[in-house]
Every structure is written in C-alpha cells, then in structure tokens.
Symmetry: C2
C-alpha cells in the first residue's frame, strides 16, 4: 500500500495512539510528575514493540528512564538512530489554555495539547514512518530509537547514558525531529543550533522583609540591586557586556549573510504575528541573524517582594531571577557559565549577598549541507512539501546534538516539522495535522533515499 | 485605683479583648477579606461602648466602614480625637510565621499576631487608657475615637469621610499611636513623617510567551526592559534620577542634622539586627538621615516569566513591578506621581508597551516641639519610661496625618509605642507586653497633663 493511502486509512488510529502519549503529563522539571515520566516511557515501549521493533526497553538512568528500541535487518545496511524526547514543558499560565493541555482535541485540522509538537508530536512522525515501512517490509536500513525524558531540563542523564552505551547506540547517522520549519510555505531543514547557558540568581539583603518606610533609603533593596545588576548585562547597542563573552564568537561570513538574506521573510508579518510595534536586538544585525546566528541574553523569570493584590510597602529579604544566554557554535557553555558567575560576583555590591547557580547548558551545532544524509533529507522534503527546503541556522538549542557528535562521532540531521504558530512551550500548543501527515511522508522518503554509504 | 494596680489586675482581660480583634483577619488589600473588615469594625464598636463611650457607630464609607465613638464630658474642655486603624497587612510569606498570624499567642512577655503592633496593638493602648480614666471618672477632656479600615491601602475613603463629617470630627488635638520609638532604651516621639507615592508598572512585549531560542535576541524581553528602566531610577550616588524629583526637597538645617546626630545610634547594631554587611543609600547622608529625612526609591515587588522549579526558556509576554518612593515634607505626592509616570513614558522603548498605574500616595508631616500638646506628651513619656523622649523625624508614612492638618486644621501628636523588633508588615509581628503596659500609662499621663487651652 502506498504511504498516502495508508495514512488516509490509518490516521484515526495513529492519532489515537499519539493521544495516549499526550494524555500523560510528563513534565520533567516538576518533581511531582515523577510517576508520569515512567508511565510515558512505558507507553512508548508498548507502542514501539507494536510497530514492529525487535526489542524495546525502558532503561534506568540517574534521572528519568530512557526508552531504547531497535530493528536490525541487515548488518551491511546503514543504521539510523532516531532521537526524540517524551518529556514536556510546564503548562503555566494554565488560565490561558482554551482546553485541557493533557486532553488532546482536534479542531480545524489541528491537534491541541502540551507536547502536540514538542516533542511527542514530532517523535510520533518518526514512529508512524517507521511503522509504515516496517509493516510493508520496505525498510532497507537498521533503525534504533532513543527517547529521553529530560530534554526540557538539559538532558543531565543522557550524556552519561551515551558514554555507558556507546556500542548499543552505534549508528551511521542520527535523525532528530525536534525543530521547526521557517513557515508552512517555506519548508526548511535546520543546519545550525544555538547553545545555551542558564542560571538562577538569588540576591539576599536583610534577614527579613523590612518596612520600606522605616528602612527605605538606608538599606539596599535586593530587587533594586538585582535589577541594576541585570540591567548592566546588555548595553545600549544590544551587546552583552560580560567580559570576554564574544571572544569565541565566529563572525558571520558574507556567504552566510547572503544565505540568510535569501530566506523569504517579512518583518511586518513577524511583528504582527507576535503583536509588537518594533523589533529590538544587537545593532548591525538583521532579525534573522539575531535570532539564529548571534548570542542573546534573556531574563526568563524574575520574582521577589509583594506580588499580590494592592500595594504593600516592603523591602524584601530576597529577590530571584532565572536568566539565560543563547550561545553560538564555537562558544563553550562551561566557559560562558563561569564568566557570567564571575561577572555577577564582580558587580555585586557589598550590601547584599548574591548566589549564582548554573542550571544547565549545552553547545551549539552546525551541519554541513554537502553531507549525503542531508541531501537525502533535502530530497525527501522536496517530495513531501513540493518545494526545495531552505538550509537554515536556527536560534533554539538542543544541547545533546553537540554531545552526539562528540561521543557517538556522528552528525545529526534535524528533520523538524514544527511551525512557529504551534506555540511550543506556550499555552495552546498545537500540531497541524496536514504537516504531521507530510512529515510522515518526508521521513519515509528519507529512508528510501538514504545511500548505503554515509 | 491607680493605673499600675489597675493594669496588674486587669491585664488578662485586656489581652483577651485585644485578642478578639487580632483573631479577625482584616487584611484590607485582599478583596476576599471584605466580611472580616465589617466583623472587625463591629467588634471595635462593641468594645468602645463597653469601655464607656456614650455612642459608637460603624459608619459606611465608599470603602471599608469607619468606627466612630465619642465621650463628651465638658463643652469647655478640650477635645482629643484618637485615630487608629483596624486593617492589617497581608501575612505572606506564611511559611515564615512560627505561629498562626491570626491566633495570638503570648511567649516570653510578647504577644505574637498580625496587627499585634500595627495597629490593633497600638490602638488598644489608646483604648485601655481611655477605659481606665473613664471607669475611674478621671477624664477631664472630651474624647473621640475614629478607627479606619483602609490605612494599609492608602486610606482612600478617609479624606472624603473627613470632608463630609468635619463637624463630627471637630477637635483640638489629634492623637495617634501608629509609630515606633527609636528603641526600647530610647523612648521617642515622632515629630516628622515621610510622604509616599506608589505605582504598579506593567510591561507588555509579545502577545504571548515566546520560546527564548526561537526569538531570543530579536524581540524585546519585557523583564529585561523592566529591569533596565527600574535600574535607571537611582544613580551610582544613590540619587533618584527622575527629572525635578528633588526640586521641593528642603535641605536639612544644621540644627536638624545636629538633633539627628544626638540620637544614640550604633550602625554596627543596626546592621547586625537585620543581617547585612553594609548599609547603602544616598551619598553625603547618614543612615538616620537617609531613613527619615531623605526621599527613597524601593521596588516592593517584581514578577514575570517562569518562577517555578527548574528552568524554562521563555520570553514572557508581560512583566510587572510594584514600586514606591518615600517623600519628605514639602514634596507633593501628586506632582511626584506625575513626574514618575512621565519619566517612565520617556524611557520606555518602542519595542514594548508600558502602563504605569498610581496606587496610592500621601504627604509628609512635621510637628513643632513647642506645641503645648507635644509638651504634655513628652512629659507623659518621661513619666512612663523614666527618660525624656527624643523628638525624632521618622521614615514611615501616615498620609492621612497631612490630611488631618489640611481638613480638620489641627496638629497631630504621634504617641507611638512600636519597636523595630516588633516586625510590623513582616512575619511574626509582635508587641512587647511591658511596652504595651507603659504605653497605657503614658496615654493616661498625657490626658492628665493636657492643658485646657491648646
């Protein structure tokens, strides 16, 4: 049966099985969801065996378990290692969801749920493509699946797992569906990712909350201090001021700049889609350069003092922020992490105590477009979407891609099918079911076109 | 019966009655406590009648009700208007309380509860003094009580109430117990208060939370912008940078500086009491000048983005702060409020929308120490505490004191019995029962010494 006909016939069942994963609230950063992590891993294991894997295991790690499955058909054929993650982001602010984040619903040809795209949806594209080829005996290569449960918290257990199971994970190419296309009309394959460094900052002033009338003006307010420190991290040109921060940033080549300029992009549409009047960022760079090829500094969360209704006049004892830098390939996140902590130590006034806790980090990645596997992916995209895909460096981070390269010594093809409008990490995350269908076709085409020597 | 003997005999009952007020969670800034406001007002009315007031009413206002009571004995004698408030501050962070904030407990001669000092405790000192004099027919003057339920939210209904009931509130002097002494060993009477202006700031960036990888560096982050704006409000010399902010600030006279220097004060003890290594504030001023006679800027609360466990990489749609300035006498809080909003408008970048909402404000106050009523209060303090009290300008704000002067055209004597260690507005608020007792004695002495012509 051809893939198009198969999908027409099987889609309701595929959505049912996919939904069984989406219903499990596998939020990795909240300890209360520990048992959901195991439930989700176990559900993946059942499904992978059902799809025709020869073996599938829920393997313990120092953190959440890893699901590993394999189908080995021909020792001479190349082996594809498919990576995905079954953990999801928190769902706050819950009141902005139009439906229960863990009760998938289909509306206007989109499926809404936390994880609908990132990454239960995209992983399920991989799953459905494998199932189709396997059931119809059209799989010419070996396939391994590895699904982790800690991607959204920086994959702390994955690197040790890889080091321990290098033989098990041996492969010729790694295939990951966890990135986005530029848009529905501009299919693209991600050829670069940014790195990440993330910290929590705690500023402690007085040993208890103080009345701002009795103490105001004479005692350092931890929130005032925190804001002042954070404000200095970027200057009026949008540059990050941490000493030596840009030392390892490679300048964009004329060729890279040209490739970015060739991407159809409307700044007006970009602004209107997210409801802003003006973009902002590093001077001398375009929006697409800023959000993909240049580092950035964002305060992801801040809190302290009285945040309830009305007005309370208080100097709080403590103030906190969660802050992150997106990094570019060649910047080492360990070095940046130390530079940041050192910088904060340097600027912290004596009137408060400041603690910087590194949360997680990862390196960036670049994939050369002359790689045979990249060529197979590009042709598969053209077949599925009717257009040659753009090779695009993107702004997000998948720190473990750099680890794959280092430990497994293989390149990764980022066949991502997300769309910006899918609102990953945000309320009302969704997956367009037509893109989902085209994604499954693209992955089957990739397997069909993969050359024997990689 | 003499007051000392009376208090020895009656203290358990007095604490019982006082506790009946403390048990009512009359938090004025939280709408859910509306019915508690009425319950607390009603309980005060019952108590005031029981203490011997000729009448006591719970009077409606545009907000929480006002309790008014009077005892008129002699039309030729002076009339004292006692002001207090029955509303209290919120109790967050609740986990830092060692006992239920609304279940008063006595431990080591201190009573612990929200409002134990501010202002149910201090108002009850006034109450007990009145009750003693009234029961023993020793009251030579007329006494009116007015207790409001919105002091902690800026007394929005009190000024209209005063304007409407000027005749009812007619008096010769106003007596308020809602301030602190310098310390247990340094009895003091507050002769000056700072004014206040308070705002909430809302910064809106994109119309939804964005993935910081896909957008970071290209879109203004509302928290980054908020921190940058707030950081500019004070400079490296601790000066407030809002244009024209200091225009109406009167310089401290040599005499005032001398009086402040004469106050016994140990900066080492001050720092160790609140657990800080260094004080901080406006250059060229001492700690006591900074926290009483100079304006200040404090961020009382800040929030935005992801504040839960772990790390979420997000550019939030919104960020918020609650900010306030303490003002000094002669600074107009309306003018400052407009200057602040105008300043924020000026510095807000085009990449975000900024909304400034004035929350409340009030003028400062100065009481001349040659006032006969001040002299009576000073003698009463000396009698009760065994030491001549220091005349001290303090840093807190009671905005309605300035309104009393403007509308009722009378001065206020601030006979306050608080202590810094009472931790008002903070967890584990308390009242020292010995100070409570001395306070009652001081108020009865004040009535005894009040001259017929004020």
């Amino acid at each position: 049966m051809e893939i198009e006909q198969y999908l027409e016939q099987e889609m309701p069942r595929i959505i049912d099985e996919w939904s069984s994963l989406l219903r499990i609230p596998s939020i990795s950063c909240e300890a209360s969801h520990k048992s959901d992590m195991y439930a989700c891993a176990e559900r993946w294991r059942e499904l992978l065996l059902k799809a025709g894997m020869q073996k599938a295991d829920v393997m313990p790690t120092t953190g959440n378990p890893i699901v590993y499955a394999e189908y080995m058909t021909d020792t001479c054929a190349p082996t594809v290692l498919v990576y995905g993650h079954y953990d999801v982001m928190p769902v706050e602010p819950l009141e902005q969801w139009r439906s229960n984040p863990f009760e998938p619903i289909v509306k206007d040809a989109k499926l809404y749920a936390r994880g609908a795209d990132d990454d239960k949806g995209q992983s399920f594209i991989q799953y459905a493509a494998f199932e189709y080829l396997r059931k119809h005996n059209r799989l010419k290569c070996n396939v391994k699946f590895i699904l982790e449960g800690e991607e959204e918290i920086g994959s702390p257990a994955l690197t040790p797992f890889m080091l321990e199971h290098k033989e098990l994970l041996k492969c010729d190419i790694i295939l990951v569906s966890d990135t986005s296309m530029i848009s529905r009309d501009i299919p693209s394959i991600t050829t670069g990712l940014r790195g990440l460094a993330y910290w929590q900052i705690e500023v402690t002033g007085p040993n208890r909350d103080l009345h701002s009338g009795h103490f105001g003006g004479a005692v350092a307010n931890p929130i005032n201090v925190l804001c002042k420190m954070l404000a200095t991290i970027t200057d009026e040109h949008g540059k990050i001021t941490i000493p030596h921060f840009y030392d390892d940033v490679l300048p964009l080549s004329a060729e890279e700049k040209e490739m970015i300029q060739s991407i159809p992009f409307s700044e007006e549409q970009y602004k209107s889609a997210i409801g802003i009047d003006a973009v902002a960022g590093e001077e001398g760079y375009s929006t697409l350069e800023r959000n993909s090829c240049r580092p950035s500094f964002d305060i992801c969360g801040i809190w302290g003092g009285y945040t309830g209704e009305g007005s309370k006049t208080v100097i709080p004892s403590k103030a906190y922020a969660k802050v992150s830098c997106r990094l570019v390939p060649n910047q080492d996140h360990h070095t940046i992490s130390e530079q940041f902590a050192e910088y904060i130590r340097t600027i912290a006034p004596q009137s408060v105590k400041v603690k910087v806790t590194p949360m997680h980090g990862g390196a960036g990645y670049v994939c050369p477009i002359d790689l045979p596997a990249y060529q197979a992916a590009a042709e598969a995209f053209e077949k599925a979407f009717g257009k040659k895909p753009v090779a695009a460096r993107r702004g997000g981070s998948i720190p473990i891609i750099a680890d794959f390269e280092q430990i497994l010594e293989k390149k990764t093809i980022l066949m991502g099918f997300g769309l910006e409008e899918n609102a990953i990490h945000s309320p009302n995350e969704s997956m367009d079911l037509n893109i989902f269908r085209q994604g499954i076709i693209a992955v089957t085409e990739f397997y069909n076109r993969l050359p024997n020597r990689l």
